[in-house]
């Protein structure tokens, strides 16, 4: 059976399905191929969405145990882990079916199978039933995403040594959990199990957690997590894991080398990062160039080195974020359709969904120092915010960074409850070239947490009023 399309997207994650939808909207015939069987990619199936379902449920459980008494509520709380997992599974199921509906609505064909690019313009899909389907296509968009990265000498079995995927489906709450990697995935999943009762230790190779985030935020974030009971071993690497009668024995070594130590645990979560997924797609054989880290090299319009082949999302350079893939999907398809698609990488927010949350957009102080840009900073702690007091969530602060001369907002970093929802305001400000004064002069409702952003913006030019 031969078919032909204007655009075929390989990968059904946030990059892929949004690309297929946008293609349909612009009147291009399109299809989206995914081998998983459920659309939505890593994000929806084993990433953002299931983790957020568990983060929310575990947060409520934790609050009921630790916060309720302070608010005058007496309750007996009991954990029903299978019930919590069922909530997660239900949400994921609803959302993946939602993606299929969206594809259908955009008149884009959803194909379940493994895609292989035989030549530019020619794809063979190995379908579930073992048959194959040949597709002729004008434009191929690679949105195959990323896969977990593993530590040499540590084999992930998804039972006791797990990746993020396995950590979302543990059958029981481990007594001890060792998280390898202090990035956002490890801290989120570490938080889930700590709240449900695990003793969590985070081992990080670098001397700080959440590399890439603003340094001051990172330091304070670690302080808050430590207060919650999470343990940290920084500048430390994991050399090996052995199964013992008593669980697992993990061998650690200082990052710079030195005497090894051992630590006992029940579960090891390997979350040291993700790598671009390009295997078995046939990219190399048709001449698509990749960088040393295996990511497809594209130009600013998402064109690869082979005409007619484009790439978006985790499989190319940049932050591995669902919304970044989504933004690139829209821009890439608009470029294919002859329009002008563009992504402003200085205005893409990033969020860590712990409690408190961490959210950031734009430049960090470290980046600006390196670039030699003169900047000013305004800060406001949630301890001075009325709403934060009333909801007993006073950890953290908001920080606004603006150009010293033009006052243009260059970055925002928030550690605090609901930071992820609040960061969009600053993303919009950055997208429109606003000054800190513009945020400061924009009315914010009282009492809300977002007032902290206004007060921090005022602080850039030294007129914070409520502190």
């Amino acid at each position: 059976m031969a078919d032909s399309f204007d655009v075929v997207v390989i990968g059904g994650g946030p990059g892929g399905y949004n690309a297929a939808i946008r293609a349909g909207q612009l009147g291009l015939t399109s299809a989206c191929i995914d081998k998983r069987g459920a659309f939505g990619g890593t994000c929806l199936n084993v990433g953002c969405i299931p983790s957020k379902a568990l983060l929310h449920a575990s947060h409520l459980y934790d609050e009921a145990l630790t916060e309720f008494p302070k608010l005058g509520i007496k309750a007996t709380v009991e954990l029903d882990l299978p019930g919590m997992m069922a909530h997660k599974t239900k949400v994921v199921g609803e959302l993946t079916r939602g993606v299929e509906f969206l594809l259908k609505k955009a008149k884009s064909e959803a194909i379940v199978g493994e895609a292989h690019i035989d030549a530019p313009g020619q794809i063979t899909v190995k379908l579930k039933d073992g048959s194959t389907r040949s597709i002729a296509v004008k434009n191929i968009v690679i949105a195959s995403g990323s896969d977990i990265m593993t530590v040499p000498g540590v084999t992930v079995d998804e039972e006791t040594i797990v990746s993020s995927t396995g950590a979302l489906s543990l059958k029981q709450v481990p007594k001890r959990l060792l998280v390898v990697g202090g990035g956002y995935i490890g801290l989120e999943l570490g938080s889930v199990w700590r709240r449900l009762g695990s003793e969590v230790t985070v081992v990080e190779f670098l001397d700080r957690i959440t590399p890439g985030l603003d340094g001051e935020i990172g330091k304070n974030f670690q302080r808050v997590l430590s207060k919650q009971g999470m343990k940290f071993q920084l500048s430390t690497k994991v050399v090996g894991v052995e199964k013992t009668s008593n669980g697992l024995s993990v061998t650690l070594e200082p990052a710079q080398g030195g005497a090894q130590t051992k630590i006992e645990t029940d579960i090891v979560l390997v979350s040291i990062g993700r790598k671009a997924y390009t295997e078995n797609l046939g990219l190399i054989s048709i001449g698509v160039k990749v960088d040393p880290r295996g990511r497809v090299i594209t130009d600013a319009h998402y064109k690869s080195s082979v005409p007619g082949i484009w790439a978006i999302g985790d499989v190319r350079e940049g932050a591995m974020l669902a919304h970044k893939a989504e933004d690139e999907a829209v821009a890439c398809i608009e470029n294919i359709a002859g329009k002008s698609g563009h992504v402003n990488y200085d205005a893409i927010p990033a969020v860590v969904y712990t409690a408190p949350e961490v959210a950031s957009v734009g430049k960090t102080e470290e980046e600006l120092k390196t670039a030699g840009v003169a900047y000013k900073v305004g800060k406001f702690p949630f301890t001075a915010n009325a709403r934060a007091k009333t909801i007993a969530a006073t950890d953290g602060f908001a920080k606004i960074i603006a150009d010293a001369k033009t006052d243009r907002v260059l970055g925002a970093h928030i550690l605090g409850a609901n930071a992820g929802e609040m960061i969009s305001e600053v993303a919009l400000a950055i997208e429109f070239g606003a000054a800190s004064e513009d945020i400061a002069r924009t009315s914010h409702p009282h009492p809300t947490l977002s007032e902290a952003i206004r007060q921090a913006s005022m602080g850039v030019e030294g007129w914070t009023m409520q502190m």
Binding site: D403, K405, T406, D407, R408, E431, F432, G433, A434, A435, E437, D438, R441, T442
Partner: protein, 422 residues
């Protein structure tokens, strides 16, 4: 019932105006559509009519204040009988609902030496038609720098705080050397100087001319034209022309026609640069500079290529009269494709006019002066006029500019060419 008196829309590029004067006082009766106050905008004076029959209930913005499109100027009590407007002086306050501040001072209000407090408080209210960012609004109000005059670097050309700050910086930097270089002695001359706020028209003229100079690669080419033929034609047909068409046969009509013929040959002069594009206009809307007491305005003769000589002359005469009375409408001043200015009426022999941006050319006419010319090897006295064409060299090449001016010259020296279209 109270009805708001609002600043009406005054054309697409006009967002603010100055309240020139109120014709009515609080309490005075008004009829629907009767002019109740006068607004001075960038270019013209606009009368605001009463939105309903009734009496002026309140006046919230006094003369001299700057207002935005949509700003509420006052209220009318609908249907209410007010004091007779015929005798406003006799008892102006009697019918006023509250003892308001003295109403607007009569005529020369806009040139008040100090702005009324409202002048600071009113501008750039959130109702402003063109939204500006809060920081930009503040800087504009504090400094008087109009954001519309600042090149925006934000999304879609939006003016950002940084743009305003750097514009202010360059404004502050610019006048300094002039002050320092002034050769005046140590005498304090303030007492013998008069400081007057620029009128809105003067500010706009200043701004537009400077913008034009800053944007275009402006250059002027000269030629001279022998007016013998056109003058002969004019003296022969002057009376019959005026009798038939009811309008005087001047020289301007000939120049408009001569320019259109030349514009058709050299389309770049009738085009404009817009971003990375060149926009060629296949119509000929010719702006004619008219000097008024308040300053220069350039009303536009629309589709001048389709008008007869009489039609052109009639509309120029009409514009001239109304310009001097300040009665031109905004839309009559917008969107010309080429302009003509005549410095000759004041005796100028030669000048370099400034392009009326975003147009790409302007023809300067000058004084007709008898001069000895070499004609067929003999000296003859001929009525001569120097012509100048200032053009935007970004779009118009020197060859094109010179050719254009030669065409104009040929068409005037040989008006038959216009008839024959050669």
């Amino acid at each position: 019932m109270s009805i708001e008196i609002k600043v009406p829309a005054m054309g697409e590029s006009v967002t603010e105006a100055t309240v020139a004067r109120w014709f009515k006082k609080e309490g005075e009766a008004v009829k629907r559509d009767e002019p109740i106050l006068e607004l001075e905008t960038d270019k013209v004076t606009v009368e605001v009519p009463a939105p309903a029959d009734g009496a002026i209930e309140s006046i919230s913005v006094q003369a001299g204040a700057t207002v935005q499109v949509g700003t509420i100027l006052g209220q009318i009590a609908e249907g209410k009988a007010g004091s007779a407007s015929a005798a406003p002086a006799s008892n102006p306050q009697a019918a006023a609902p509250k003892p308001a501040a003295p109403a607007a001072a009569p005529p020369p209000a806009p040139v008040a030496p100090k702005p009324v407090p409202q002048a600071v408080a009113q501008p750039l209210t959130p109702q402003a038609a063109a939204p500006v960012m809060p920081s930009v609004r503040r800087i504009a109000e504090e400094s008087g720098l109009n954001p519309a005059s600042v090149a925006g670097t934000g999304r879609d050309g939006r003016v950002l705080k940084g743009d305003m700050l750097s514009a202010l910086e360059s404004r502050a930097a610019a006048p300094r050397p002039a002050v320092a270089a002034a050769p005046s002695g140590p005498r304090a001359n303030a007492a013998r100087e008069e400081r007057v706020t620029m009128t809105r028209l003067r500010k706009t003229i200043a701004l537009r001319l400077k913008e034009s100079q800053n944007t275009a690669a402006m250059l002027t080419t000269f030629n001279e034209v022998d007016m013998t033929a056109v003058m002969a034609l004019r003296s022969e047909y002057k009376d019959s022309f005026e009798k038939k068409h009811g309008v005087r046969l001047g020289f301007m009509g000939f120049f408009v026609k001569a320019c259109i013929a030349a514009l058709k040959d050299i389309p770049n002069v009738n085009a404009e640069i817009e971003g990375d594009d060149v926009v060629y206009k296949n119509y000929y809307d010719i702006g004619i500079a008219v000097s008024t007491e308040k300053g220069l305005v350039v009303p536009v003769v629309r589709d001048a290529d389709r008008l007869s000589l009489a039609g052109i002359e009639a509309s120029i005469t009409d514009y001239g009269t109304r310009a001097r009375d300040g009665k031109l409408k905004i839309e009559e001043l917008q969107g010309g494709t080429f302009s003509i200015t005549n410095g000759g009426v004041f005796g100028s022999l030669m000048s370099t006019p400034i392009i009326n941006a975003p147009q790409s050319g302007i023809l300067g006419m000058h004084k007709i002066q008898p001069r000895p010319m070499a004609i067929d090897g003999k000296v003859e006295i001929r009525p001569m006029m120097y012509l100048a064409l200032s053009y935007d060299h970004r779009l118009v090449d020197g060859r094109e500019a010179v050719t254009f001016l030669v065409r104009v010259k040929e068409n005037i020296e040989d008006p038959e060419r216009l008839l024959l279209d050669v």
